[in-house]
Symmetry: C2
Subunit: 202 residues, 2 copies
DNA sequence: CACATTTGATTTCGCTTCGATACTAATATT
DNA sequence: AATATTAGTATCGAAGCGAAATCAAATGTG
């Protein structure tokens, strides 16, 4: 089977279909779909990115909406707010103990199980293709992409020490798999334009 | 890099992230995110599946909600309703001329472009992995999956003629890439249970 | 045939979600 | 010091969506 022109659109539609299909399972659980998304984000983002603005950007929504979602999760006792030390405007959200516990019932586990059923070759290809896709998409849109530090261009693994050029600091091993707002896709050819449209949130 | 246990979750999160990211672009366009989804569905589903119920199932929502979305698109003049001949309860939705034209401005094209930027190996892997994933997910959930006739178990390509065992009819070449409600994933091991929970829409 | 049941589609109602706007406070810039 | 920008929040109105009720056609059962 060769690559006919419709293949691309089929892939695109399958991606949004899978995204929507996972939303379906969220109904009937303890949290709504966005609330689960927020919980996942704050569970996986690094210290720097665990803020309302970063989540708004991640979830392609406004800061106002992000605030509401976060407020509802704080009222449920799943998130706590901490003042940032360096910038007193900024706040940092952390999962509470019960917040960590409820993640054990994340409906996304259905999808994870399905991924586990895939043969290793396909799973590895997904692991490689999806971050690249997110980076490309962000470049086309002129928005920021999110990705894990391990996939980031700012990251260099020089033997024993792991260094992030963005934060200018060593990275703890635990941070390698974390989401970061300053993510820059590494495998894309170098950007020809600054591409700072910032259309998303004014 | 070997497959550590967190890889699976990363893939899952990337999938929902990409799904959500595409929704973001829909804001500011002529249609809302659901309306675009509906337009895509009716543009790509085969004759049999171009109905409100099928779309409700595809979009993991209720028939009532599906009706509303369709009504709004008919009022905008992008869809027309036709009575089915064999079952007079059923209706079939088709894109109007202006409906076909607006698809040229589908915001999903951003994602398609990003996919085009991928190297062929990864694109082919996606083309293979995503349908399998949709099938697995549906099996775990006990819901119906959607897929194209070309990927379907009911389909057999015996030389010149293409035959669908489900409809018991020859398939036009144009139908091969169409979405079908009766899709059954072909690469999954044979189902051990009937799996007819039908939890979605009573 | 008469009757109940199921299925496809639609409408109505009420709650939730979400985006736009406006606003406050802290930091950056000039 | 004055202005601009940024982080976060609150408010309001419109849209989305799920549940339930309704209607019509098809199917099943005695």
């Amino acid at each position: 089977m060769t690559d006919n022109p419709t293949t691309t659109e089929e892939i695109a539609e399958l991606l949004v279909y899978l995204g929507r299909a996972t939303r379906g399972a969220d109904a009937g659980s303890d949290l709504t779909a966005v609330q689960w998304t927020a919980m996942r984000f704050f569970a996986r983002a690094n210290q720097l990115s665990r803020t309302p603005s970063a989540f708004a950007s991640f979830n392609a929504t406004t800061r106002g909406t992000a605030s509401q979602i976060i407020k509802s999760l704080m009222q449920k006792g799943f998130l706590v707010r901490h003042q940032a030390v360096d910038d007193r405007r900024s706040v940092r959200l952390d999962l509470t103990r019960s917040g960590q516990e409820i993640m054990r019932y994340d409906p996304l586990r259905d999808l994870s199980e399905a991924i586990d059923q895939l043969e290793g070759r396909l799973r590895r290809a997904l692991r490689q293709a999806l971050p690249a896709l997110a980076g490309e998409l962000a470049k086309i849109r002129g928005t920021v992409a999110f990705g894990t530090c391990g996939d980031c261009r700012h990251f260099s693994d020089s033997g024993a020490a792991s260094y992030c050029a963005c934060v200018d600091a060593e990275l703890a091993l635990a941070d390698l798999g974390c989401l970061c707002v300053n993510f820059a896709a590494s495998e894309s050819r170098k950007a020809t334009m600054p591409s700072l449209k910032s259309k998303e949130i004014s």
